[in-house]
Amino acid sequence: MITADLISQHQLTSAEYDKIVEILGREPSYTELGIFSVMWSEHCSYKSSRLHLKKLPTRGKLVVQGPGENAGIIDIGGGYVIAFKIESHNHPSFIEPFQGAATGVGGILRDIFTMGARPIAVLDSLRFGRPDDPITGPRNRRILTGVVSGIAHYGNCFGVPTVGGECIFEPCYDGNPLVNVFALGVCRKEDVFYAKAAGVGNPVIYVGARTGRDGIHGASMASAEFTEESKQKRPNVQVGDPFMEKLLLEACLEAMQTGAIVGIQDMGAAGLTCSTCEMGSRGGVGIEIELDLVPQRAAGMTPYEIMLSESQERMLLVAEKGREAEVFRVFRKWGLEAVEIGTVTDDGRLRVRHHGELVADIPNRELADEAPLYDRPHDMQAPEIRPTPVLPKADVQSTLPVLLAAPDICSKRWIWQQYDHQVRTNTIAGPGAEAAVIRIKETGTSVAMSLDGNGRYTRLSPRDGAMLAVAEACRNLATVGARPVAATNCLNFGNPERPEIMAQLVAAIEGMADACRFFDTPITGGNVSLYNETLGEGIYPTPVLGVVGLLKTAPPVTIPFKHAGRSVVLLGGIGGCDDVHMGGTEYAKEIVKKLWGRPPLLDLEYEQRVQYAIRRILAEGLAESAHDLSDGGLAVALAECSFGPAEIGAQIELDSNLRPDVLAFHEAPSRILISTTNPKRVVAVAEKYEVEAPVVGVTIEKGIEIRQRTITLGSWEIAALRSAYEGALESYVR
C-alpha cells in the first residue's frame, strides 16, 4: 500500500506520484515506487537543470558524441578518439571521505571504459573548509586527508595516473566538501561502444561484483540537503574495490574485441535500475530480467534492494544471441562473474521478475527520459555582498610570503605526491604544471587538460565567474601550446528550490554557454550536483569546467625560469583593476579577509588574442618558460616561476599608476609571464595579435625584485619564499 508518507520518504511530490500513476495506469508496487524515485531524483533526472542545460553548446567539428551517453567523445585524428567526463561525488565524500572519494574515482572510470576507451588520465577538483580554522580545521583536515587517500587508493591500484586538478579551501565548504573527478580515455574510432540495447531476444548479461545492500538510495541522498541525521546515511555510501575495477576494465575491453557485444553500460547511480531502463530507452526496446539470477552478496535481498543497490564495479551488457560463450570466456579468464539475467524484448518496457513473479513493469522511455521537468523560479538575486571596503594599504614586501603560504595558493605537492601520476608513462606535464599533458603513444599527439572554477568569483557574479573559469581553463591549455577543443562541466550548487540559488545556476550556465561558444569548446557532457547545503548553509555556486586541448607531442615548455639573463615579458600587459574588482581576489581573501564587489573584468576578444599569441610564441620556440597569472596575481606568478631546480629569479620593473599592492596582486585575466632570449620577436608576435607585451624585466641568478618605476616594492630571497610556498600545506595537515 503506497501511503503519502511513503511517497514523501521517497522524495517524490504528490504531482510526481500522480504522473507515475498516470504512466502505469495503476498504483505502483513498492519496488516500482523505488525505481521511479531514483530515476526521477535530481541526481539522475536533472529535473531542475535540464531546461537550462539545453543552452550549452554541444556540437562541433570534432564531436563524435555529445551529452546523453556515459561520456563525451572527441575525434583527435589518426583514427583515434578520446572519451572524457567530469562527475561529482560530494555528498558521499562528506559522509565517508575515503570511500566517498574512492568510489567517485571508480564511477567516472567506468563511465570512460564502458565507452570502449582505456582511461589514461584522472584530474580532481576539490573544495574543503579551511584547514587552518581554529574550530572547523580539525574536521576539514580529516576530510581532506580522507579524500586524498581515497583518490590515491583507487587510482593508484587501478593504474590510471592522476595528473592534475585544483584544491581550494573556503569556509562555505565546511559542511559540504566538493569532490569532482575528471577522467579521460582513449580508443580507436571504430572501437567506441554505446550504452544502447538492441536486438530482440539478445541476452542481457550482468558482470562484475555481486550486488549487496550498499549504496541503496545513494542517488536520492545526493539530491537532498544535509541535516544532523545525515551521518546515519553512512550505509548509503558504497565501498570501492579498485582491483575488481581493474579486472572489469581489462575484461570489458577484451570482451568488446570479440565483436559479440551489442551495448554496454556501467551500473553507477541507481545501479541495475538505471542501466536497464536507460539502455532500453536509448535502443527503443524493452528489457526483461529475473532478479534471482543476479549474483548477490547478501541473502534474502528484496527486489527493491536489488534494483536500487549501488554496489560498485558492476556492468550490464547486451550480447549477440548465440555468441554468449565468447563473452563468458573472457570474463572467466579474468576471474569475474558473468551471468545472463534477462533478454531484450520488443515492447519498450522494463519488466522485472523475482522468483518468476512480476514485481515491476514500467515503460522505459517514460521512466528514463520523461522525468518531470521543472522551470524553477529564478527571479531573485542572492543577497548583496557587502559594499567595497576602504582598502587598507598592504606592504608588498611582507604580503607576498603570506599569500604564497595561503591554502589556495601554496604548493599542493603533499596531495599529488600521494597519487601515482606517471603510470602508463605518458605524463609529459603532470601535477603542478600549467595544464596536464598526456601523450597518446598511438598517434604521436598529446592531450592537454585543465580543470578550473572559482567559487568566490562565481559568488560575486555567477555569469562572469563561469566565463572566467572557461577563459582560465583555455588559457592554461594555450600556455602549454594546446588548442582547446571541447569541455565538460560539473555544476555544484545549493538548493534549486530556492529562487536565489536557481538564479545563480541559470546565470552560470548562460555565462558558461556564451564563453564555450566563443572559444569553440562544446560541452560534451558533465554532471550537476545540487542541494549542496548543510543545515541550510549553502556553498558558493561552484561551476567547475574541464577543458581538453590537442597538441603535438614534444618536450613541454614549463613554468620555471631556466636561465639568468633572459628577458621577462608580460604577455597581455599589466592590466587594470579598481577596488571593486579586487573583491574576489586571494589578496581580498587572505589579507583583507573579505569578499566584495565584482570578479575581475574579462574581455573575451582580448583573452582569445592573448591565447593565439602565446600558442604562436610557443610554436616558434621563443619562450623558455610560460606561466599564466591567476590566484595572487603577478607577484605570486613571478615567485612560482623562480621555484625551478635552478632557482632562477628575476628583476621586474613595472610602469604603472596602480596602487602598489593592487599592482602586485590583482587578478586581471589574459596575462602570461614568459622568459625569452628573443624579446623582439615575442613583441612582434604580440603586436600582430594586437596584444600588449611589455618587457618587464630580466631573469637573474639570485632573488626576486619588483619595482614600480624606480621604487622597490619588494625584494626576496627565493629560498625563503619557496619554503613558505612548499611547506604550508604540510604544516596545516600535520
Partner: protein, 232 residues
C-alpha cells in the same frame, strides 16, 4: 633479445615495461599470463609494478602462489635473469627469491616522485653498464616500499656486494637506504624505483635504460654458451 613481462591480473606497469624494452631499448618482448606454467623462449623476465591480486593482504603474498611463479623460480635457478620492479620486487621477496620484506612507507602514505639512486655495484647483470657510484634519477610510486631485514641479512647483503642501489634521500624509511638488491647468484634483482618510467627524455629521464642495457649486454655476451632454463 626477448623479454618476458609477467602479467598478474592487477599488474598495471606491464604495458610500461613492455614499451620500455620494445620501443626504447629496441628489443622484442611478450606478455606472460599469470597462470602460465612455462615462460617460453624468453631471455629475461620482468615482474612489473602494480597490485598483483589486489594486494589487500600483504603485497605479493598471494602472487607467490601463482602458477607462473614456479616457472620463474625454475628460470632463476637455472641462471635466467629476473628483474622485479616495485610490486615485482615485493613478489620476489614474498616468493623467497630475495631476502627481507617490504613494509609500509615510514610516512604511511603512498609516495610518487623522482628519487636519486647511487649505483652500489656494477658487478651484476643489471648494473654492468653503470659505474659504481653513478647517480641515476628515476621515479618511485609505492605505499609499501620500506625495505626491512634483520641486521645479519643486511650485513650479509653488504658484505656480499648485493646492494644494487641506495637512495640518496631515503623517501620511505628503508633500512640502510636500500632501494634495490641482488640474490646471491646475482641473476635476480628487485628494486622499488621504476626504471621503465625513465627510458626516454619525454619521461623526464632516461637513466633507467642503463638497467635494461646491462641485461641486454649480459644476454648478448652469454648467447653462444648460455641457454636459460624455461626454454624447454
Amino acid at each position: 633479445m626477448k623479454f618476458g613481462v609477467i602479467v598478474f591480473p592487477g599488474s598495471n606497469c606491464d604495458h610500461d615495461a613492455f614499451y620500455a624494452v620494445s620501443a626504447n631499448l629496441g628489443q622484442s618482448a611478450e606478455f606472460i599470463w599469470h597462470d602460465s606454467r612455462s615462460l617460453g623462449d624468453v631471455d629475461a623476465v620482468i615482474l612489473p609494478g602494480g597490485f598483483a591480486y589486489g594486494d589487500y593482504l600483504r603485497c605479493g603474498a598471494i602472487a607467490k602462489f601463482s602458477p607462473v611463479m614456479q616457472a620463474v623460480r625454475d628460470f632463476a635457478a637455472a641462471g635466467g635473469l629476473v628483474l622485479g620492479v616495485c610490486n615485482g620486487f615485493q613478489i620476489l621477496v614474498e616468493a623467497g627469491l630475495l631476502p627481507g620484506a617490504l613494509i609500509r612507507n615510514r610516512s604511511l602514505k603512498f609516495i610518487c616522485r623522482d628519487v636519486h639512486l647511487r649505483t652500489e655495484t656494477s658487478r651484476s647483470a643489471f648494473t654492468s653498464a653503470a659505474q659504481r657510484g653513478e647517480i641515476l634519477r628515476m621515479p618511485i610510486a609505492h605505499g609499501e616500499g620500506c625495505y626491512f631485514a634483520d641486521e645479519r641479512t643486511l650485513d650479509e647483503l653488504q658484505a656480499e656486494d648485493r646492494i644494487a642501489f641506495r637512495y640518496l634521500d631515503n623517501p620511505n624509511g628503508s633500512a640502510r637506504d636500500i632501494a634495490g638488491i641482488l640474490n646471491r647468484q646475482r641473476n635476480v634483482m628487485g628494486m622499488m624505483p621504476h626504471p621503465e618510467r625513465a627510458t626516454e627524455p619525454l619521461m623526464g629521464s632516461s637513466d633507467g635504460l642503463i638497467i635494461f642495457e646491462s641485461m641486454l649486454r649480459m644476454v648478448q655476451a652469454a648467447r653462444p654458451a648460455f641457454a636459460p632454463a624455461g626454454r624447454r
